[in-house]
């Protein structure tokens, strides 16, 4: 699955770069993070996600109302103020997924345009929840991440 998007923030590219290139700061943009472990450009996160709207299609699955998600990733392909790749693997309820998030920054006067592309391998997770539901979940995460990034820039 591949998703792309772009948005512009009213901050200089150096400030945006200082967040997306720092695992500690980038982790703060991701929603529902319960714990973070950072070691240089490597980081491990655990999330707690409210999954009711995704798991409610299953009978008697209230025990899946909240899911713990583990994610380990590395910051790669760093080109200062221009480009970065965040690549990692995660798992929840025994299902694995992988993510490659390409971020390209371009300075526009005092603003910064952020183009992003996410390549997501969902494996059996897509079969469990259905492509449409997973698309919605990923879109939710992306939107929350962008909102958090904007908040952090402030």
């Amino acid at each position: 699955m591949e998703m792309t998007g772009s948005f512009t923030v009213d901050y200089r590219v150096e400030k945006v770069w200082s967040i997306v290139s720092d695992a500690n700061k980038f982790a703060k943009c991701l929603p529902n993070v319960v714990s973070t472990e950072v070691n240089g450009d490597n980081f491990q996160l655990s999330f707690k996600a409210d999954a009711k709207k995704y798991t409610s299609k299953f009978l008697g699955a209230s025990y899946l109302s909240n899911l713990n998600i583990k994610f380990s990733a590395q910051l790669k392909e760093k080109q200062e103020n221009k480009h970065i790749l965040i690549q990692g693997d995660g798992s929840t309820i025994g299902l694995k997924f992988s993510l490659a998030l390409y971020i390209d920054l371009s300075a526009q006067d005092s603003s910064t345009k952020i183009d992003w592309k996410a390549e997501i391998e969902l494996g059996r997770m897509a079969k469990l929840f259905g492509e449409e539901v997973v698309n919605q979940a990923v879109t939710d995460v992306v939107n929350q991440t962008i909102d958090n990034l904007k908040t952090l820039l402030k």
Binding site: K48, D50, K52, S56, K57, F58, L59, G60, A61, S62, Y63, L64, S65, N66, L67, N68, K70, I93, G94, L95, R124, K127, L128
Partner: protein, 434 residues
């Protein structure tokens, strides 16, 4: 003419269906490929839910749980330890669920009591002493081996036949009609045929595989979800301890005899019998349990296990939060043009009686038997040995009277409750084999 029904699977679901149908006058035979609680019913946390766990997001399940909690306590008191349960809030986030929890319990008719921190810590001194709020709920512990054995013993007294260690080799078919099963007794190797008017596939996590392999029926799309439990071999509480929040991983510690069972984490598996438990889940469970009972961090996890249950999608127009049931009846005459067989998927041990009643109603309607279920009133049979009947019991169990007397004394000396006597469970389960 009495209708003949074969039930495949003697877990909580199949055993209660067997009892329900036999009590309505059906001629029932239950077939179990393994031993008692060899499947999912023997690999859960041991809790007879009060329903409080579901009160925040599934009121229907909560209402059914408290209803069956009361009924099962009445009809099978010998397999229950009335531990009670506590819901504990440990931080501000947990506290944010307080009003939702109280409202849900009220709506579900679950009696709860808000305890002072002081009295809660007095009752449960191993509880995290920074606990912010505590509620008492009527959770209980159930011995599933004894529960299912007593269901089967009761069904036998209602003329049902119980065939353990017996597997289905194939279904007997005439055209599109299933007419029975060919079975093999794995103890003796004997192969035989059983005819029936209806076959009920209640094999739980194995339901889809069984009818796909033997009948080519593919209409049951099930995903298998394993629930992991970690066991510390010390007991620190009288009550079951629940985290006050919506259902999630690592939210219960169940005192089961002298153990503490910490549950659960869920993960998806392909095969109900072949899967590995992630060791990280075990560490997670111990950590989550020790947030409620810090002392759990001081002892090693000495064993862990996982039970597999099926996940079934609700109907196209259903949202399971609104769907009336957590199980589904597949009538294969409607879905696959195969008559004489239905499958039951889903449900839980705590509400197995209500589920069996509804399935019994469905079968009764199908087979023209209008007898109503009375399982809420029928006391389950569990032998009681006393000085007056010890001679008779020893004879019926083919045991020396003095030996039986020693076993009864061993049981009476058990801490917490004699329901934890494995010796008596094994002894009385012999009644299923003669």
């Amino acid at each position: 003419m009495v209708s003949k029904v074969i039930v495949i699977g003697a877990g909580a679901t199949g055993s209660f269906i067997t009892h329900d149908l036999a009590s309505r006058g059906f001629d029932v035979t239950v077939i179990e490929k393994g031993n008692i609680i060899g499947g999912t019913s023997g690999k859960f946390h041991g809790m007879l839910h009060s329903g409080a766990r579901y009160a925040m997001n599934d009121v229907k399940a909560a209402q059914e749980s408290i209803a069956d909690n009361k009924v099962i306590s009445e009809i099978a008191p010998f397999c229950i330890e009335n531990t009670g349960g506590l819901f504990v809030a440990l931080n501000e986030e947990d506290l944010s669920f307080q009003s939702k929890f109280e409202d849900g319990c009220k709506q579900s008719n679950i009696p709860i009591e808000n305890l002072s921190i002081e009295s809660a810590l007095k009752e449960e001194p191993f509880l995290n002493n920074s606990v912010k709020a505590v509620y008492r709920v009527p959770d209980k512990v159930i011995n599933s081996f004894r529960f299912i054995t007593s269901l089967l013993l009761t069904a036998k007294r209602e003329s049902a036949k119980v065939l353990l260690n017996t597997e289905v080799l194939e279904f007997i078919k005439e055209g599109n009609d299933v007419k029975g099963v060919k079975i093999k007794n794995n103890n003796t190797g004997q192969v035989s045929e059983l005819k029936a008017d209806l076959v009920v596939n209640a094999s739980g996590a194995w339901a889809s595989k069984l009818i796909d392999e033997k009948l080519g029926i593919k209409s049951i799309e099930m995903i298998l979800s394993a629930g992991t439990m970690a066991v510390i071999n010390r007991r620190f509480t009288k009550h079951i301890i629940n985290r006050l929040r919506e259902p999630s991983d690592g939210d219960i510690v169940v005192p089961f005899f002298n153990d503490s069972i910490i549950g659960t984490t869920a993960f998806i598996v392909d095969d109900p019998e072949k899967f590995d438990v992630d060791k990280e889940d075990i560490s997670f469970l111990q950590k989550a349990g020790s947030e409620m009972l810090p002392i759990l961090a001081n002892y090693p996890v000495y064993r862990y296990y996982a039970g597999v249950r099926p996940l079934i999608a609700a109907g196209e127009n259903d949202d399971s939060r609104k769907a009336s049931r957590d199980f589904k009846i597949f009538d294969h005459s409607a879905t696959d043009n195969v008559n004489g067989i239905i499958s039951i998927v889903g449900g839980k041990l705590s509400t197995a009686r209500i589920m069996a009643k509804e399935i019994g109603d469905f079968i009764g309607n199908k087979m023209g038997n209008k007898t109503e279920s009375k399982t809420d009133k029928i006391k389950l049979y569990w032998p009681q040995v006393n000085s007056e009947n010890i001679d008779e019991m020893a004879k019926s169990l083919s045991l020396n009277k003095d030996f039986l007397s020693e076993m009864v004394n061993e049981s009476a000396g058990k801490t917490y409750s004699d329901m934890y006597s494995n010796a008596m469970d094994l002894l009385y389960s012999r009644g299923l084999f003669n």
